[in-house]
């Protein structure tokens, strides 16, 4: 008999990385120029967590996925038009800033409140999923704080593999230095997993799944509670993009091996 899990995936939205991301000062602190107008995507780390959660549900019938997201809800709605077609889930939306400049503790508080408010969530069966960091903040702080707030002390970060055995036995592989894994074994829920990329491809679109998800997505967006997420006590002296140096060359006739050799040579310079 497979185990039944209640999987809560935490994930917000980030600007599409191809956009021009230009830090600017605003009355509420630093932000990105025209941030509200930039197309957004579900945070890629959180996306991996979501796909892994959906895959686990397939293996453990009766399990369920909630996607808990703190974001400007109109932007979140646009992102849902894509994500909702990928896998079945129930959305729990919280209206709040998702900018990478916001204080991680505020986001963790909002998520904890939202998760506590999920009526039919059985915390004794909880698997708390998220990205090991966000593509906007890149700090890897929110999930750790959230776990503490929800008293989930079994935490694993940089997860690529989760194998579920009988009686809630979990084998978890965390990324460590040098391309190696730390292999963990634990048993019992709740467990927090901050996912790296996992091993799954992006699921195929299924518009019928999308239409089913929409039955809960739209009401969830409408009843989204507001969370006052700010930059907190952080005083940003200045913000700027990391300096990048592009050396682009178009090569159409080089083999993959030749390209790899050249990159290795360049790395060794």
């Amino acid at each position: 008999m497979p185990n039944v899990y209640h999987i809560v995936v935490c994930g917000s939205i980030v600007p599409d990385p191809l956009q021009t991301l230009e830090p600017v000062e605003s009355p509420a602190g630093p932000s990105l120029k025209n941030e509200m107008m930039l197309p957004a995507v579900l945070d890629p780390w959180a996306s991996h967590a979501l796909y892994e959660a959906a895959e686990l549900v397939k293996k453990c019938p009766g399990s369920k996925v909630w996607l808990v997201s703190v974001a400007p809800k109109a932007k979140l709605q646009q992102v849902m038009m894509n994500i909702a077609q990928k896998v079945p889930f129930e959305l729990v939306a919280v209206e709040g800033a998702s900018s990478g400049f916001m204080e991680a503790a505020g986001t963790a508080n909002a998520l904890a409140t939202a998760i506590d408010g999920i009526a039919d969530l059985d915390k004794s069966r909880l698997l708390l999923f998220g990205g090991w960091e966000s593509a906007s903040r890149g700090a890897g702080a929110v999930m750790q704080m959230l776990g503490e707030k929800l008293h989930v002390t079994e935490q694993f970060q940089g997860v690529d593999v989760l194998e579920v055995g009988d009686d809630d036995q979990f084998l978890i592989k965390e990324r460590i230095e040098g391309g190696s894994y730390q292999v963990n074994e634990t048993s019992g829920c709740p467990v927090l997993l901050g996912w790296a990329t996992g091993n799954l491809p992006e699921p195929k679109n299924n518009p019928q799944v999308g239409m089913l998800n929409m039955r809960t997505v739209m009401p969830a967006l409408q009843r989204a509670t507001k969370a006052d997420i700010t930059t907190g006590d952080v005083d940003y002296k200045s913000v700027s993009l990391p300096k990048q140096k592009r050396e682009t060359r178009v090569e159409k006739n080089m083999s993959a091996d030749a390209i790899a050799d050249e990159i290795v040579t360049w790395l060794n310079e």
């Binding site: 599409d16 191809l18 956009q19 021009t20 230009e22 120029k33 025209n34 509200m36 107008m37 930039l38 197309p39 400007p72 809800k73 109109a74 932007k75 646009q78 038009m81 894509n82 909702a84 077609q85 195929k204 679109n205 299924n206 518009p207 019928q208 999308g210 239409m211 929409m214 739209m218 178009v250």
Partner: protein
């Protein structure tokens, strides 16, 4: 600061094109975008357009349509689809999204729907269930693909869809059994033919035991020859499969689409092939028009990036205008790009208005068919019954266009309960909007696509041009031709504009634009109303006047008069729908919190674009109507002074409009664009 923060995104488009509350459509857009900017773009970038044959790489397109769920776009939910009701808007949006990258790939997607359309629109219940089921992803296997075979080899190829050389004859007809039919059909330029598992073919009877023409389904496993034929050596749309197939097959008579009756020993198909085609083509021309508009809008970002980066990497250094602004130091390049942009916007507004109207019209048409069948109204009787409703349709229109305070809700409800009234209005609108979209969006769109290519310099005509603009220019020419070339659309319009219903609505549109102008003068709609009056006067004049030889000016055979005149009508309606979309954005935009901060900037930019489009429209109408009216005038021609006066009013209505173009062009210098194009090039 720039008056335009970023290029308009989904939040703005959903409001302007009226699908912000349609989640099914928004999802379809996302699916199509994902396919377009990954699989489709990669195929183009890797040079798959450089060969005519369908191959494994191109076949990835079909797999990506399956994986994205787009294969089921045309299906109803019980058949595995996800969109309830009419799907014209859905198909229009998907075609738009895929054509943003490559319209051949969009055609490949649409052609399957086109093959299913005769069955969907006119098939028996069994035919619908069987073919929709086979073509659906619902069973998890590889779905059947279809092709629509109408056009035939020269000399019968082309516009006259009434002439068929494809023939059917009775092969066997045993007492009490289903007749077996011999089908002979040669197709030309048949899309999807490389992989079609079934074909819906138009054929004519060559047997006195079968009456008239019909459409019939052919399957690759049928007895006989199912030869896919030679590939068409296309210069365009190479991501759709096109071949000249040859069929010589034996099929049961139950394959006749819509079924048949046996009357006095003769098989009488329920629908002639022209009935089926009319039901299908009425709508499929709309997405084609939008394909070209998508190309124009897709060109904006790569052209701006090219303009800005034109001199980087040379001697100029960061911080100099040459480095920072590139070609945008020169007014010409931004002004020309505004012309490209506004053509794409106006075409899209027109096309999506046509698609929305088609979605409304679909159930009305079905109800009308049912009503007429119940009442025994066929052929001329039906035509006369609908015609008798003209006065009520005109009253209905007056009610629809009346200010809210003057509307009589009871009377509107009463008029709307009459299916023939609603049908007559929908039909009159479709007779303008559908050919108008196909004609103007593709024809003038192709001209403006050349302008977009020009703005890329020599780069524009290379395979490396970002956004594939050179290929898009060529493709636009095909879009102006296939599914009914320009002459067919102009002829269709020539007939449509003489309808009393259209004439009434046209005059109400003028009043509406003047009313909008009083409240929102920055849109420039008063000038558009002036141009519409000039066109209206010209139509009356042409219908009443003769040339120096005494020959009537407005006549089916006088295409030198009517065809250019129809082109100007398209300018007018495209400008009108663009202005109305901006009105919608002003009204609904404040309800979207994403837009709140920047809405004024977008509206201001769009108002300027509206003035640009209207000024160009006024110029076209003055020129074209002037050429026709003065060109055929004699000393005895009446109404010339009145025409001159209207022409003068139209000219003066655009005073100051060029400044709007300058301001719109200036916004292009400051608008923030992404770091890179979101698809490979």
């Amino acid at each position: 600061m720039s008056s335009l923060p970023t290029l308009p995104g989904d939040d703005i488009r959903q409001i302007m094109w009226r699908y912000s509350d349609r989640y099914d459509l928004q999802m379809a857009v996302q699916s199509a975008r994902q396919v377009a900017r990954t699989t489709v773009a990669r195929l183009v970038a890797e040079g798959e357009r450089n060969n005519h044959e369908w191959n494994d790489k191109k076949n990835e397109l079909l797999q990506s349509y399956d994986a994205s769920g787009l294969t089921n776009l045309y299906m109803d939910p019980e058949q595995g689809g996800f969109i309830e009701g009419p799907k014209n808007m859905a198909m229009a949006l998907v075609a738009f999204e895929i054509s943003w990258v490559d319209a051949g790939a969009a055609t490949c997607s649409l052609a399957n729907n086109l093959a299913l359309a005769p069955i969907h629109e006119r098939g028996t219940r069994e035919q619908v269930e069987y073919y929709m089921g086979k073509a659906s992803l619902m069973d998890g296997g590889t779905p059947w693909r279809g092709a629509f075979a109408l056009t035939e080899p020269l000399p019968f190829v082309g516009v006259d869809t009434g002439v068929l050389s494809g023939k059917i004859r009775i092969a066997e007809w045993e007492e009490g059994k289903e007749p077996i039919i011999d089908v002979e059909k040669r197709g030309r330029f048949i899309t999807n033919m490389d992989f079609a598992n079934f074909v819906t073919a138009a054929v004519d009877s060559d047997d006195e035991r079968i009456k008239g023409s019909c459409m019939i389904t052919l399957e690759e496993g049928d007895e006989g020859t199912y030869d896919r034929g030679a590939p068409t050596l296309k210069l365009v749309h190479q991501l759709s499969s096109t071949r000249d197939p040859v069929f010589r097959l034996k099929v049961p008579a139950s394959r006749i689409i819509g079924g048949y009756e046996v009357v006095d020993g003769v098989i009488v198909p329920k629908y002639q092939h022209s009935d089926v085609i009319a039901a299908v083509f009425h709508r499929t021309r709309i997405p084609v028009g939008l394909m070209t508009s998508a190309k124009l809008l897709s060109a904006i970002e790569p052209v701006i990036r090219y303009q800005r980066q034109r001199f980087r990497g040379g001697d100029s250094s960061e911080g100099t205008p040459r480095f920072d602004m590139g070609l945008q130091m020169n007014e010409d390049v931004t002004h020309r790009l505004i012309d490209v942009w506004v053509t794409g916007e106006a075409g899209s507004s027109l096309g999506f208005a046509a698609a929305r109207e088609a979605d409304q019209f679909d159930p009305i048409e079905k109800q009308k068919d049912q009503y007429c069948e119940e009442q025994g109204l066929t052929g001329r009787k039906q035509f006369m019954a609908i015609r008798k409703k003209e006065a009520e349709v005109i009253e209905y229109l007056e009610q629809l266009y009346a200010p809210e305070s003057e509307k009589d809700a009871d009377r509107i409800a009463e008029l709307e309960s009459d299916i023939l009234v609603k049908f007559a209005l929908g039909d009159a609108r479709a007779n303008i909007l559908n050919p108008g979209t196909k004609l103007w969006n593709t024809g003038y769109g192709a001209t403006m696509m050349r302008e977009a290519v020009t703005l890329m310099g020599g780069y524009g005509t290379t395979e490396d041009c970002p956004g594939f603009l050179g290929q898009k220019w060529m493709d636009a020419q095909l879009e102006a031709t296939y599914e009914g070339p320009e002459a067919v659309q102009r002829r269709h319009l020539t007939l449509g504009v003489t309808s009393k219903i259209f004439r009434k609505e046209y005059s109400l549109m003028i009043a509406e634009l003047e009313r909008i102008s009083a409240e929102q003068p920055d849109l420039g709609t008063k000038a558009l109303a002036s141009a519409m009056k000039l066109w209206e006067f010209t139509l009356d004049h042409l219908q009443q006047s003769s040339d120096a030889n005494g020959k009537k000016l407005y006549h089916n055979k006088r295409q030198g008069v009517t065809f250019p005149f129809m082109d100007t009508l398209c300018w007018l309606i495209a400008s009108r729908y663009f202005a109305l979309d901006i009105v919608e954005l002003k009204e609904k935009g404040p309800l979207n919190p994403v837009l709140a901060e920047n809405l004024e900037a977008y509206i201001s930019f769009y108002e300027k674009l509206s003035k640009v489009q209207i000024a160009r429209t006024v110029g076209e109408v003055i020129r074209s109507c002037g050429e026709i009216v003065f060109g055929y005038a004699t000393e005895e021609t009446e109404g010339i002074d009145q025409f001159r006066e209207l022409q003068k009013q139209a000219e003066e209505s655009v005073i100051g409009f060029k400044l709007a173009k300058e301001q719109a062009a200036e916004a292009l210098v400051g608008v923030m664009i992404p770091e890179a194009l979101d698809y490979p090039a």
